[in-house]
Symmetry: C2
Subunit: 191 residues, 2 copies
Amino acid sequence: MATETTRPVLRVDIKRPQRADARRNFDALLSAAREAFAEKGVDASLEDIARRAGVGIGTLYRNFPTRQDLLSAVYFGEIEELCLAAEEAADLPPWEALTTWLRRFVAYVATKRAIWESLNRESDSFQEAREAMYAAGTPLFERVQAAGEARADMSIDDLLRMVSGLTGCNFVDEEQRDRVLQIALDGVRAR
Amino acid sequence: MATETTRPVLRVDIKRPQRADARRNFDALLSAAREAFAEKGVDASLEDIARRAGVGIGTLYRNFPTRQDLLSAVYFGEIEELCLAAEEAADLPPWEALTTWLRRFVAYVATKRAIWESLNRESDSFQEAREAMYAAGTPLFERVQAAGEARADMSIDDLLRMVSGLTGCNFVDEEQRDRVLQIALDGVRAR
DNA sequence: ACTATAACGGAGGCACCCCTCCGGTATCAA
DNA sequence: TTGATACCGGAGGGGTGCCTCCGTTATAGT
């Protein structure tokens, strides 16, 4: 389903370089950045990223003139995947579809701190990512509400902030995180 | 009630200096630090704090040899107040007592980022603060559970992490924060 | 008033980060 | 093979923060 999607697109036009050596560096930088951002959040040191990639700092700046460019290149793809996951879940019954997607959402957020931060920072370029996530989640949530299985006095914004808040803080272990999340979602259910 | 409490004490023994000028600086540092920590979180720059206090960096280090010493001096007092609030709420009916205290808890956490961080960091000296908070909240929560008004399969640790998670992330406004918190607490209620 | 000394404050060494600039190098088309 | 050039890397200047050290100053007891 939806192979030729017209979903609001997250366009990043940082072009992969032409020359072979340049392409190698470009890719190394991307994966080093993915690693560093996941580990230290969006404030990870750019010099550290260049080091991890085994590349000079100059090369980093040539490919990604600003920190935002690098962040975008790394994360917009992943958020895109999240949006796709929402479409895939659409076949399930309303409540399962929603929780399935949220589970996926949580899995992402837990490891990729930047996604979480993108929900919590006031930044233009993150705005776009946030909107894409909301657009993806809204149909799922509205379906649940239409089925009378979730309280009507709640928005997707409420829901995602709730889930991301619970995901963004430390728990003793995964088991506790799931349990607490489950409890909070119980509050979302219509009674 | 409990004027001569034997509650686990948060002891900080950084002694206020003897000489008049030293005492002035000590106090100025404390309030500058309170301000800076609230504003920028526990990572606020020590040099900035000294500047705000109108004092040399050396003076800061003389009074508070480590960042932890300063943090402790600032926050343990406030956490102590939080614990007192729990005792005061004890007169109310179980569920109200708990939510009254949690409301207080939220009010603190929202403005004092360090308290929130103290729940989310792995640090020895915060451990102590965390334990004090837990000790204060446990009676309230257990009372609610005993009254059958909260689900039994949840601990005070679960509850506080849930609340602090929801408090620690941004909401559009206070109203949304309260609404979402209310929804999550609905999930805590026994059905 | 005078002095012993507690307390001051900021210069300075070290570390890290950001970003620019440019001499050197690897690539690729001819 | 070779030359034009796209691309490299890191030195270096500017900024901030941490913490120590020590010459200078204010205080308090006599």
